[in-house]
Subunit: 331 residues, 2 copies
Amino acid sequence: MSKTILFKNRPKGKPATSDFEIISEEDPKPAEGEILLEAKYISVDPYLRGRMRDEKSYIPPFELGKPLESMVVAEVVESNNSNFEKGEYVSGMLQWKQLQTSNGQGLNKVHKELAPPSAFLGVLGLTGLTAYLGLDKIGKLKEGETLVVSGAAGAVGSIVGQIGKIKGCRVVGIAGSDEKVDHIKEKFGFDEGINYNTTKSMKKAISEACPDGVDVYFDNVGGEILDAVLQNVNKDARIINCGAISLYNETEVPTGPRPEGILIKKTALMQGFLIRDHAKDFGTALKQLGAWLQEGKLKYDETVVEGFEKLPEAFIGLFEGKNTGKMVVKV
Amino acid sequence: MSKTILFKNRPKGKPATSDFEIISEEDPKPAEGEILLEAKYISVDPYLRGRMRDEKSYIPPFELGKPLESMVVAEVVESNNSNFEKGEYVSGMLQWKQLQTSNGQGLNKVHKELAPPSAFLGVLGLTGLTAYLGLDKIGKLKEGETLVVSGAAGAVGSIVGQIGKIKGCRVVGIAGSDEKVDHIKEKFGFDEGINYNTTKSMKKAISEACPDGVDVYFDNVGGEILDAVLQNVNKDARIINCGAISLYNETEVPTGPRPEGILIKKTALMQGFLIRDHAKDFGTALKQLGAWLQEGKLKYDETVVEGFEKLPEAFIGLFEGKNTGKMVVKV
C-alpha cells in the first residue's frame, strides 16, 4: 500500500489541511513501456493556489477528488521502458503520490553528480529558470541599474537578487522579517533589505534604499508592495509581474491605486511572466545557472519538510512565510 | 497690441475659464537672428492638464502668471534669420500668444502643399505620430489581431483605428456617444464601436465586440474602461498606456481593481508611451503617414474653434467630449 493526496475542497481564502485528503491505495504496476516512480522530493509552490480555483487559467484547475500535482524528483524503481534505468532519478510534473507509473513523457533526467536531487526543484529547476528568464526576457537588466525584488528570501527572489549582483547592479530585497533581511544581505550579497512587516512607509523605505530610483522590479507579491515600488520607479523602468502571493487568498477582487498614471509619466513597463512559455530557453538558462552554481556565485536555501503526509502543511506554510528559499517535502 | 493667455490658477478638478487670464501687450520685436511669428492654429491637448499640476513630471509644470504653451502653426511675419523667409509657415512648441519672437530652434517647416496647415497639429503632427509610433513600438500589431482603442473618435484614437485597418486587424472603438460610434464606423472604417455612456457592462460589450479577445489595446482614457478591457485580453496582449483622460481631473488618488493578477495569467504587457521619447523616428513615421494621407487611406477630423480668446474654452471642452478628432483653435 502507498499514499496519495487528493484535492478535497476548493479553499476560500487561505487553504487549510481539511482541503486535502490522504488515502492509501494498492501499489501501481507499470505496464509495458512504463516505469514505476518513487517520489523523493516534492515541490510546493505558491502558484498551485491558482490551480485550486475553478476558473480558466494558463493551466487547468485541479479537479476535486483527484490527486494534486507539482514538480517532483523521483527514483525509477522499476522500468519497462528502455529509455530509463532502475535507480535513475528524474524530475517532472507528477502527482502527489508516493508511487506512480509514467510512460516517461515530460520527464527530465536528474544529474545527481551536479547537485543534490532537491536542487532540481529549485535553483536548477523552475525556480532558477523563473529568476533567470524573467530577468532576461522582461527585466533586461543593465550594469549599474537598481534592482528591487520582493519575496527576496524566497526561492525565486534569492536567485533574482544574486543574478542582479552578478550583473553589477544595486540590489534591494523586500522580505517579511529582520532575520530574512539579514540573511539576504549576508548569504546572498544583497545591498539592502527592507522588512515590510515593520516598515511604516514602504514608499519612503524604498526611496531611501534606492537613492538612484528603481530601474527593474521583480515582483513576487503584488499588492501594496508593488504600489510602493511604483512610486519610486525611474523612467523606462521594467516590472516583471511574476507572482502576486499577497493576493492569492483574496476572496474579493483586490483594489488599489491605479498604475496607469505612473506608467505613462515614467514610460514604465509591467509585464506578466510565466515560465512555461519559455521552454525553448531552458537549456541555455540551465547551463548558465549550473556554471554559476559550480563557480560558487550562486547560493541557495532550502526549507525541507520531512514526510509525505506533511505536503498540505508545507504548502500552507508558504502563505505564512514559513519557508526560507525553496520549500520542498522530502518523502 | 496683441494678446497673450496667462496661467492664473492651478485647477482643482476640471479646469475653468477663471484659471486663465487674457492680457494685451505691446507687439514684440524680433532681435538680430530672430523671427516674428503670428499664430495661425493652436493645438489644445488633454496632456496639458498634467502640466497644470505643480509636480515633477516629464515636462516642467506651467508657471503661474506665465503664458501657457502648446503646439502651434504660425506664419513668419518678419525675419532677421536667414533660415526663415517671411510668409513661410512653421510649427513648434510655442506660447499662447498672437505674436511672439523665436530664434528658430525647435521649429519645423510646414509644407502647405501636402496638407492644410492645421493638419500639422494633427495627423501630420504629434497626434499622428503618437498613434503611429505607439502602435509600432508597444502594440506590435500583427495582421488578423483584434485592436481596441478608447477615445476612438478623438484625434489620436481615430488615427489608431485606421492604422489598425490598414494593418489588417479587427478594430473596435470606444467612444462617448452614439454619433461618435456611428462616425468611427462610417468615416474611419472601424468594425465595431461601443458607447461607454450607454453601455451597462463594458466587460460584456467588449467581449461581444471582440469574439477572439483583445490583442492590443491603445488606451487614451485609463480608469474603468481599461479595467473592462483587461478582463478581455488574450495571452500576450499589449496595452499602450498613452493617456488617462478619465483620471486627469481626479483630486484623490484614483483606485480600481489591481491588474497584476490578469497581467500574470495572460502574460500581458502594459507600457506607458510618451511621444517626446521617439523624436528619432518622427521622420520615418511622418513619411508613412503622409503617404497614407495622399493615398486617401487616412482620414481625419478636426474640431476648429475660432478665435484666440476661445483657447481656454476649447481646452476645457476636451474634458466634456466636445471635440471630434483633433481640437484646434484658429486664431
